[in-house]
């Protein structure tokens, strides 16, 4: 299929072809630009739909029928059945992947009450630093600028409260 500048090239198959590539691109854009975990999962689902459409389209053959015997005289051209088989299972696997992602997301939301990637990373980092007893990078209660940091992280005095309470599953629900 050479892209022809004339309008004759705008066949339905062409529209489907560019449309499926468009779906892949929209999904990828949502994945790399999105900050909300659930929206990123939806973008992944859109990209997956585009990939499945593109796979089915690679089996396209002009004027061919579905690959089922007995509905047309023998010798009628049929579309390539292998992409259809692959897509058939890919859809079901996609559902499984999405359900697992949603399950993990539910746990993340229960623990941190937030699904924004940037905020989530900050909270995760501060929790990890709290648990390890080292200062959080860029935190306000640590010296900034040219003042030298102690080479070994100063241990928190025994009995002093943590800077932020560590979220433990079950304590805040």
């Amino acid at each position: 299929m050479m892209i022809d500048p004339s309008l004759d090239a705008l066949t339905p198959e062409m529209v489907l072809f560019t449309g499926s590539i468009g779906l892949i691109v929209i999904g990828t854009a949502g994945l790399v630009l999105g900050r909300h975990l659930f929206r990123m999962l939806l973008a992944l689902a859109i990209a997956e739909a585009g990939v499945n459409l593109l796979l089915v389209l690679t089996g396209f053959r002009g004027g061919a029928i579905a690959p089922i015997l007995g509905f047309a005289p023998a010798g009628t051209p049929m579309v390539d059945p292998i992409p259809q088989v692959l897509v058939l299972t890919a859809i079901v696997i996609g559902v499984g992947v999405q359900a697992l992602a949603v399950a993990v997301m539910i746990r993340v939301y229960r623990a941190y009450r937030v699904l924004d990637v940037v905020q989530l990373r900050q909270r995760l980092e501060s929790d990890i630093c709290d648990a390890a007893g080292i200062p959080t990078a860029g935190s306000l209660d640590e010296p900034l600028g040219g003042r030298p940091l102690p080479p070994v992280p100063a241990p928190r005095p025994v009995g002093a409260p943590a800077r932020r309470p560590i979220h433990v599953e079950g304590t805040n629900t």
């Binding site: 590539i21 089922i68 007995g70 059945p81 259809q84 088989v85 299972t89 499984g96």
Partner: protein, 228 residues
Amino acid sequence: MRDFASVLFTAGLAFLLLVIGSQLAFGAPPMRVGGELLTVAGPQVGAANIVTAILLGYRGIDTLGELSILFAAATAAGLVLGRRRAGGPQDRPGGLVLRAGADLLFPLLVVVGLYVIVHGHLTPGGGFQGGVILAAAFFAAVLADPARALSHGPIVWLEGLAGTAFILIGIWALVEDGSFLAPMLPKGTMGEILSAGTLPLLSVAVGLKVGAELAGLMASLAETETPE
């Protein structure tokens, strides 16, 4: 800066895909296996639906792998979510229309799902598609009324038995014919319900397994505690 790089990456991907697509001969599938299978699958397997013939006849072991991926996903989701504590907060049941609609849809969805599974080797459809319809039949009721929880015991048993049946048919073929999941039994007349040898049995096993697994997966998602 990060957004700019992301947009640049996406535009590059779009350009790359379009260029590759414009170089391909459209309407002439690049793979020759499919064309060969179209002529061979009918006499060899005896199923009118060539897609099902490939799925369960030629790629049977891959289908088994995909079933195990689904099983792993369902198990992991159940493991991550855990069980609901008794007396935890729960979603309110839906209105009368939702509940009555789910009840009315249930028999229709079960019949359609079983039809699609059993006729998988004759008409479009098969184990995977029919299994999803079956799962929807059982899950619609849970969506309409979260208090009516799906009991996990029968689901787990059904899933295990269907998976065992699939593997046992494969081992039977291995003993008799020498290759795992090779089509067995007489092929019969193409186009009739009892044709294509073991394919309908495999289709039923796949359908029940997919249906039970998806229903269990959705049920464990629906059973998670509602954040107060």
